[in-house]
Symmetry: C2
Subunit: 367 residues, 2 copies
């Protein structure tokens, strides 16, 4: 095995592999990267018990050349050390040791492991692949994955539920808030519901070039997500995802429209002066009043609203952290809060948003 790469090409590949490599595992060979130099590409594979990534580097005669085919499992240090090198860097397998050389004055040597001991990575899709633009994939995932449960009390809630059928729906909830994004499909696909660990989706988002398309292939126990020269594999979470449809209110008795920037800045200010981030919102005839307090401080701010339909004096308390996280996913100058009673979940949405999404927050009962 012998090939020559530039530092940039290696750094770019490592960027894609890193999320998987950083996960701590117990199987020694999985700390390494399987490298296969083939006639038409160099294939890099990283894996841990739950997620894997395959990235191909294509030769181009300039920054990448392949001299001899072969395979080995390298330590990640063998690639990471190149951040300290420059120019063309040659990797050559000599009697089970990897020689890394740059010019005549620098030679580094790394032990390797046997490639046949590295687990086989691959998928057997059970249904037709789903094709999305990078943009749509990003909206689907980044607007839901933040709301997954952070604790393992109900493991299935640590994932994003993906429902394929007439449309593509991503749903997440941690029992205190819920996020849902719906993306129309050009043609109806076979119905399937899977739940993908939130952490893995974060990793995939980081590894992907979102200017390129994404192809999702679902297997009985894993999902493969292909993007450019990268394929990311994640295990699926077992267990039935709860039916969340009945949690989302369809009619409202109060709708409050606010300037998004002013509202966000006010929540950020008051959340620092609140016990556990709880803020009380009250709509009176002229203003929206926001109040927070903790052991040593109290905060109060009045905002003018753009529009309000509902009872005067309506009051609701909520976690400012959850609302701020939802607001980050809404791309609009004006936002609307939809209420159906102080103790019932409310939704927040942008005015004239293109992507169909629901951001639902449960009020905090005590204040």
């Amino acid at each position: 095995m012998k090939f020559t790469l530039t530092k940039d090409v290696i750094q770019q590949a490592m960027q894609k592999l890193r999320p998987v490599l950083n996960a701590k595992g117990t199987i020694p060979i999985l700390a390494g990267i399987k490298v296969e130099a083939m006639a038409d590409c160099i294939m890099l594979t990283a894996s841990n018990a739950s997620e894997s990534i395959i990235h191909r580097i294509l030769p181009n005669g300039e920054t990448t050349t392949i001299d001899n085919e072969g395979a080995a499992v390298l330590t990640k240090e063998a690639f990471e050390v190149t951040s300290k090198l420059s120019g063309e860097i040659t990797f050559e397998l000599v009697e089970k040791n990897l020689q890394v050389t740059q010019g005549k004055k620098t030679s580094l040597s790394f032990t390797t492991m046997a490639p046949e001991e590295f687990p086989k990575i691959g998928a057997n899709p059970t249904s037709a692949p789903i094709v999305l633009t990078g943009q749509k994939f990003s909206e689907l995932i980044s607007r839901t994955v933040f709301a997954v449960a952070k604790t393992e009390t109900r493991p299935v809630l640590t994932g994003v539920n993906l429902q394929v059928g007439e449309s593509l729906q991503a749903i997440s909830t941690d029992s205190h808030r819920l996020a849902k994004v719906t993306i129309p499909l050009e043609e109806k696909l076979d119905e399937v519901s899977i739940t993908i660990p939130g952490k893995m989706l974060d990793h995939a988002l980081k590894a992907f070039d979102l200017s390129k398309g994404i192809l999702l292939s679902i297997d009985t126990s894993q999902i493969a997500m292909a993007n450019g020269n990268t394929i990311y594999y994640s295990r699926l979470l077992e267990g039935n995802y709860p039916d969340t449809q009945r949690l989302i209110p369809t009619t409202f008795d109060g709708e409050l429209t606010l300037d998004a920037k002013e509202f966000t800045e006010s929540l950020q200010l008051l959340s620092t002066l609140s016990s556990e981030g709880v803020i009380k919102l009250e709509v009176d005839g002229l203003f929206v009043k926001l109040d927070s307090k903790n052991e040593t401080a109290k905060g109060h701010r009045e905002l003018s609203f753009i529009e309000y339909t509902g009872e005067a004096g309506f009051t609701v308390s909520f976690s400012s952290g959850f609302l701020l996280e939802a607001l980050k996913r809404i791309d609009s100058d004006a936002i609307k809060l939809n209420f159906c009673g102080a103790q019932r979940p409310f939704t927040v949405e942008g005015i004239n948003e293109k992507t169909k999404q629901v951001q639902l927050i449960l009020p905090v009962r005590t204040y």
Copy 2:
């Protein structure tokens, strides 16, 4: 007490107080900031058991106005929250509560503590003050403080020893390396030797505006360092600082001159492939050879040297981390390593440096 400040003025003051405020203490009132609004300034004091800082904000009729005198101990939140505000921010003490208001729509309230319970901060200098430019103070401290001992085995070594007399000398050592900077004084001062905790000097460097001068006043148990509108007080370390003069070699039997950038980059590369950062250096007739190794990797690089006087085949092993830290303090394109045997400490210096300094490294005996 009532005064109005802009966000920038508050942020700038908090920047100076923060190192002292961040230190964890056990005395509740020291978690706060004593604020005294006087006719001619607002004085802010922060303190913990070991270090204190006094910062004055002067009224200027524009960004700072003082309406009523008074004093209180405020929580640091009362100032930190202003990072979320803008424009003019008014602080007013109303029945032991601090009201912070911005315009008519935002009002925040904070509990305060009694100013008379805050410890008195001040100095009784026992000798004439030492006046330095910010630049000289920075050279004195930043080129020595990094080499203080990080463990408490010998507490006095966790500080920088300052020797006043015909010149001003700062010395630090952790027994593996030593740094010493000497700054000439215009006139001889009374001889005094004190040791200042390294951490406090780091804090002072951060708080100071180095374009302004520094005035050092030494007390029996503390040092006051004044800079612009800021005075930083630090306790001194007890115990005698060891005599380091005899550790510094005065004659050498090998002198090696190298390109600073190439040598630094080579050390950075090889240190990642070394066990505990140890690198072996060998000078042969044509090249300097650097070698490192760890359990899974080996590294080798050859450098050409600018000049070498000494035995051919000279070999020394050292901690690359210590040498890299010393090199960072040397402002020169070419550096010289001065050896007197493979087992004896060696020094590294810049060619044509303006400030007199010694950076001494002990070799590593086993490789």
